[in-house]
Amino acid sequence: MAILVDRDTRVLVQGITGKSGILQTKSLIDYGTAVVAGVTPGKAGTAVEGVPVFNSVADAVREVSPNAAISFVPPLFAKDAAMEAMEAGIKLLVLTMEGIPKHDVLDILSYASGRGVRVLGPGTAGVISPGKCKLGAHPARMFREGKVGVVSKSGALSYEVGKTLTDAGIGQSTVVALGGGPIWGTTQRDIVKLFNEDPETEIIVLLGEIGGGTEIAAAEYIAESVRKPVVSLIVGRAAPEGKSLGHAGAIIRGNKGTAASKMEALEKAGACLATSPAQVVELIRKLG
């Protein structure tokens, strides 16, 4: 088990012949991910790193039955590519690109919602279930198989914490990056729920940041439904109020999005709070 991706995941790379597509396809294959197909219109019959390229997702589905897609399609074409994947029956979309027009993202999420399509991103580094499947940018050596589920908006922060855990000998079930917002196909609450239901995940690490309310929503779910131990690290405690620090969600609105308010909500929900990756390790050791 694990969540979102595992050994049965068969990956389709949309935009496989672009610079990022080629580089990432190699990185996925090197990790052992089953990359079964790529799509670039007009490039059918070619191959990238040994992966057959098709003109359309429908062709790829017919020939090699992928069940997850990662997209490196340029922002203005991302919407059409996402629809193509969804209409072909793909149920997990990883939208790596930033800069997709927001109305396009809203359209994608409307179609996906209720049709059972899970969208990670946009602007996500993706997901890795160490030892099983990597469907994203996570540097392989920073992760190892284990029992800790990690969720983060920021890709880099998820690597940072993964690296610290791995260096300390603590493995992960799945590590998920959600993207920097301001719109998310999947939120921390969704992933915490999946971890809670995943028999292989024993401890949940929730990495949050200032701005927005997704950590509060996750805290509410944790308080209601999660009995597994949760360790949380909220970054941005030292950020000045009222300034946007990169992620558009990271703008303090009233009291809602402050680090303090999030830490308070998570503590009330029963989570253990860390202030650094090193402390995340300490808390997990205490809990384990």
Binding site: P101, K102, Y111, G136, A156, L245, H247, S276
Partner: protein
């Protein structure tokens, strides 16, 4: 792209949304001034009403005086460079109407309140039940039943007029790729609904498909401010801070974590400079240029890199290129790991630059160097 009120109202007029008759006035061209009227500062920030940026005048003399006074103001640090002078309306009620999106639910959101006017933020904080929030499916569009619900909530009798008004706002929101269309107040006059204010922000990511809209409005803004648009930092987010430890990161999350660690270890960051997770040697170079140009008194520069999509060889190339072309006399602390880490470390080594692997150690050294240690 945020629009000035007068720019937003031009879009309203084009969309058939009723606005007051008005004229734009600048220091160099006051010919549009008239009275009686409302003389309103044109700034991109909010809260101008409370700050005295809007004056009601009855005579031409008062209008001249108000114009002179407002044109000499600064509102939240932004000099007032233009005015919108509008006819006074006979106001029966002030509503709030906006359409934006709820990023956490992933859906467009209409908001309406009968408590319009300047204090909508305080309404939102203290009486959230006075604001109706209705998600709208973007593919389906605005439904009649939601339009009825909004008109009911506002207590506005002419449901047909309200529906037509709100539909135009929705169409504008969609067609212009807006992330916010806010009308506060939306006023009820003897002749119906009128948008008395306009706050519009267009999605910058939609610029390639709305070239004319962006060009026209940015040119207008440049003509007013004398600045040719903002310098394009690409994916870089740069925020100046108060400390003396320069900071560059390749992710907002790790950037904020580092900010926290700097403070926890007794230092203070001079800036927050984040390059995004998919970047290039050129962006790395620009980030350094940005920090060194803006913060000439930093005592150390901490570069925190952890490559996923980013390639460490490219980051190292950007750093070494910058150092070849600029004299940097303060200590440089570079933490570099992840994708193409070996290649990156090799480039750094060749340039004689040390590389850190552990974040905490890197932060500790950067703080120590800034405090004058070695």
């Amino acid at each position: 792209m945020k629009l000035y009120e007068f720019q937003g109202k031009a879009l309203f007029r084009e969309a058939g949304i009723p606005v007051p008759r008005g004229a734009v006035v600048t220091a160099s061209d006051r010919s549009g001034l008239f009275a009686p009227s409302a003389v309103k500062a044109q700034v991109l920030s909010g809260g101008r009403g409370k700050a005295g940026g809007v004056l009601l005048v009855s005579t031409q003399a008062e209008a001249e005086k108000a114009a002179g006074s407002i044109l000499s103001m600064e509102l939240k640090g932004e000099p007032v460079r233009a005015l919108l002078v509008e006819e006074k309306m006979n106001i029966r009620a002030e509503y709030y109407l906006a359409v934006t999106f709820d990023g956490e639910a992933g859906t467009p959101l209409f908001m309406a309140s009968a408590s319009g006017g300047m204090d909508i933020e305080s309404v939102a904080e203290h009486s959230p039940e006075k604001i109706l929030k209705l998600p709208v499916d973007p593919l389906w569009g605005l439904t009649d039943y939601k339009l009825r619900a909004m008109a009911d909530f506002l207590g506005y009798e002419n449901k047909k007029e309200f529906a037509s008004f709100a539909r135009k706002v929705w169409t504008l929101f969609r067609e212009k790729n807006a992330v916010l269309v806010e009308i506060n107040p939306l006023v009820v006059t003897d002749s119906g609904l009128v948008a008395l204010d306009s706050k519009i922000e267009i999605d910058d990511d939609a610029r390639p498909r709305l070239k004319d809209l962006f060009e026209k409005n940015l040119a207008e803004q440049a003509a007013l401010t004398g600045v040719e648009g903002e310098a394009d930092h690409g994916t870089i987010t740069y925020v100046p801070l108060e400390g003396n430890v320069g900071l560059i990161s390749d992710g907002a999350g790790t950037g904020m974590l580092t900010l926290d660690l700097i403070r926890d270890l007794g230092g203070e960051a001079a800036d927050f400079c984040e390059m995004g997770g998919l970047t290039s040697p050129e962006v790395m170079y620009s980030a350094m240029d940005q920090v060194f140009s803006d913060k000439k008194d930093i005592k150390s520069l901490l570069v925190v890199l952890i490559g996923g999509f980013n390639r460490m060889d490219e980051m190292a190339e950007g750093i070494t290129a910058y150092l070849r072309e600029h004299k940097v006399s303060i200590p440089l602390v570079v933490r570099l790991c992840g994708t193409m880490e070996e290649e990156g470390k090799a480039i750094m080594k060749e340039a004689g630059l040390p590389v850190y692997d552990d974040l905490r150690t890197a932060v500790a050294d950067a703080v120590r160097f800034a405090a004058g240690g070695n």
